[in-house]
Assembly symmetry: C2
Homo-oligomer: 369 residues x 2
């Protein structure tokens, strides 16, 4: 089976929906924790699941290099390899090639890059990006795209968009697995006309879902906020919309208001490992000596393993002593925070109260809505 998607409620541009995948149902708006190398860093799959996540993201680039997608296939596919009971979306590897690897050349054919792990040269074409993702066996595969940097010239932007559209068509043709659905990626930077044209070209190919790439790549948050409603509106109503790599809690609420359904971001786990905890009142930095004697839980609203049973003083102590349990607990908390946020958004959309709810939900200093 492929995925299916249905809208359950609307509230302004915001949407509540249900994504049905070969590995379970996922309510949208949904946040996907990032499991780069086949593990959401620091957490057991059961902990990610209990936090409320029904879908996680795997990175094609990283998994191709280690342990190798062919090996993952021999071991039964990524779900079984990482023991994840829910759905998996894999990116195409393109973004990591451009950001991590020493890229040797980009041509219309594809990308040649040097592995950041062992230095060997690797070809990545649209066809190969799909072949790798078919080996991984994700429920949703992303097409290979070219993600131009923020502020690139109109000529470079136009060439990247043209390549992205051409590569999407090649990915569509390359797909062979009936149990894997491809999402196309709309590029075009902050040029709304270019975004609309890219979206129209991709929509003509009738993908099961669409992503917005090239946001959160260095532009100002306000610029993204301004561009998103038009970009979302250029996508079909009846297909899921995924904003790649975004973002901070306030960015996600803003994007939900603009009609986006799916998100992924490394912030919950990366910041958690770095002693930063998301709360509705803003981020707490647990290394701060102010917490040394604080008997209060991290967040009295929260039902995560860190907040149920531990004090801020204890969490501070764990980070002061570089104990693994600190990163573990804060990663669990932050993942749960993001899941509670999208669950709240879904409920608010269902009752037509999303704007008021989102205005109230983030009350602290990280709020920029």
């Amino acid at each position: 089976m492929a995925i299916s998607f249905s809208l359950k409620a609307r509230d302004g541009l915001a949407r509540r929906g249900l994504l049905v995948t070969p590995h379970g149902e996922v309510e949208t708006p949904a946040f996907m924790p990032v499991g780069t190398l086949g593990t959401v860093k620091g957490l057991l799959p059961s902990q990610v699941w209990q936090a409320g996540a029904g879908i996680v993201l795997g990175n094609t680039y990283h998994l191709h290099l280690r342990p190798g997608d062919d090996r993952v296939a021999r071991l039964g596919g990524l779900h079984r390899f990482m023991n994840w009971p829910g759905a998996i979306l894999t990116d195409s590897g393109g973004y990591q090639v451009f950001s991590l690897a020493e890229t040797r050349s980009i041509t219309d054919k594809g990308v040649v890059f040097r592995s950041h792990v062992d230095g060997r040269m690797i070809d990545l074409t649209p066809e190969k990006a799909i072949a790798i993702q078919e080996n991984l066996g994700s429920d949703i595969a992303m097409v290979l795209d070219e993600c131009p940097p923020a502020g690139c010239s109109p000529v470079d932007l136009e060439r990247a968009v043209a390549r992205t559209v051409a590569w999407a068509a090649r990915c569509r043709n390359a797909g062979t697995r009936a149990d894997q659905s491809q999402f196309a990626i709309v590029q075009g930077g902050l040029d709304i006309g270019m975004r609309r044209q890219c979206a129209a070209d991709l929509v003509a190919m009738n993908f099961p879902g669409y992503a917005l790439g090239g946001f959160s790549v260095g532009e100002k948050p306000e610029a993204m906020a301004e561009a998103l409603p038009a970009c979302a509106a250029a996508l079909p109503e009846n297909k899921p919309r995924y904003l790649m790599g975004v973002g901070r809690p306030e960015d996600i609420l803003m994007a939900i208001a603009a009609g986006i359904d799916m998100f992924d971001c490394v912030l919950p786990t990366r910041n958690g490992r770095n002693a930063q905890a998301f709360t509705r009142q803003g981020e707490l930095r647990l290394r701060n000596a102010a917490f040394r004697d604080d008997p209060a839980p991290l967040d009295s609203d929260c039902d995560c393993p860190a907040c149920v049973g531990f004090s801020r003083a204890y969490l501070h102590h764990l980070f002061a002593c570089r104990e693994m349990l600190g990163p573990i607990l804060l990663s669990a908390h932050n993942i749960r925070f993001y899941q509670r946020m999208v669950a709240g958004a879904r409920d608010a959309i269902a009752t037509g109260s999303f704007v008021a709810w989102s205005r109230d939900w983030l009350v602290g200093p990280t709020r920029s809505l």
Copy 2:
């Protein structure tokens, strides 16, 4: 309430018993995972509990330095601080002072040492060791002892034993908490006569429990095996017997056969963090490339989170990529392995089959019985 201890079964010198503490019942022989700084490294308390541990060890020296035992007391004591539902035994700090700190002087009064964390000078007397442990609020406190190195001169050994006995008496007098029970520590190296005299002097003070210190400090395993039965026999039948800091699975089985009831060791977590997994067939080193494509579970006998759902290939991948989940899963496995071992020993003692059971249980290359 203080602790109480009752024997439930005997099998040769081996004993099965029940230790009742203010924080729950613990069946013996018992293995205590080490939670040096108020956390069994890499694991949630719930995971340690689910592995079958009913009692963990906390380190007085480490907790005095960070976060400070006064702070732990203000935050409700160590059980609440680390959110551990079971019993806690704290050591006296003596062993760490001799092994970790730059020790400045040992006199009959106590020890003066330089903190390995921040360099400040700290006094540790028998009275202070008890005061710190009363702040921590452990169920079982260890007296301050002097642990002489393996192979020290008879004169040094005798002086350390005399000091250990004198300090034990001072600890006994210093205790004020009715909910904390002190265990005395028998020293005397490999000199059985010295051990017997030390034990007799301590038994005369009627402690609730007795430990054997100064083993596993550099002597040959055979030397410990030879000395243990006589050392255990010098202790009262009706009190728990604790062999400090031991050890490898085969050492623990040997010591159970000699009549020891309680154990602690960092091996399960330390080796787990280092990619070494205990199994009945010996230790597996998961970094070994031989496991790269191995779809089998770590240990098909085991019901721990690592063995249920993950392959050796996945565990190898986690360590190859330095993912936190590798140390987490192997620590969970090794703690469970030790708990399964002592649970098996208890059952075997109850049915009078300990010798045959322990001969069969460890079948692999780590077995030295």
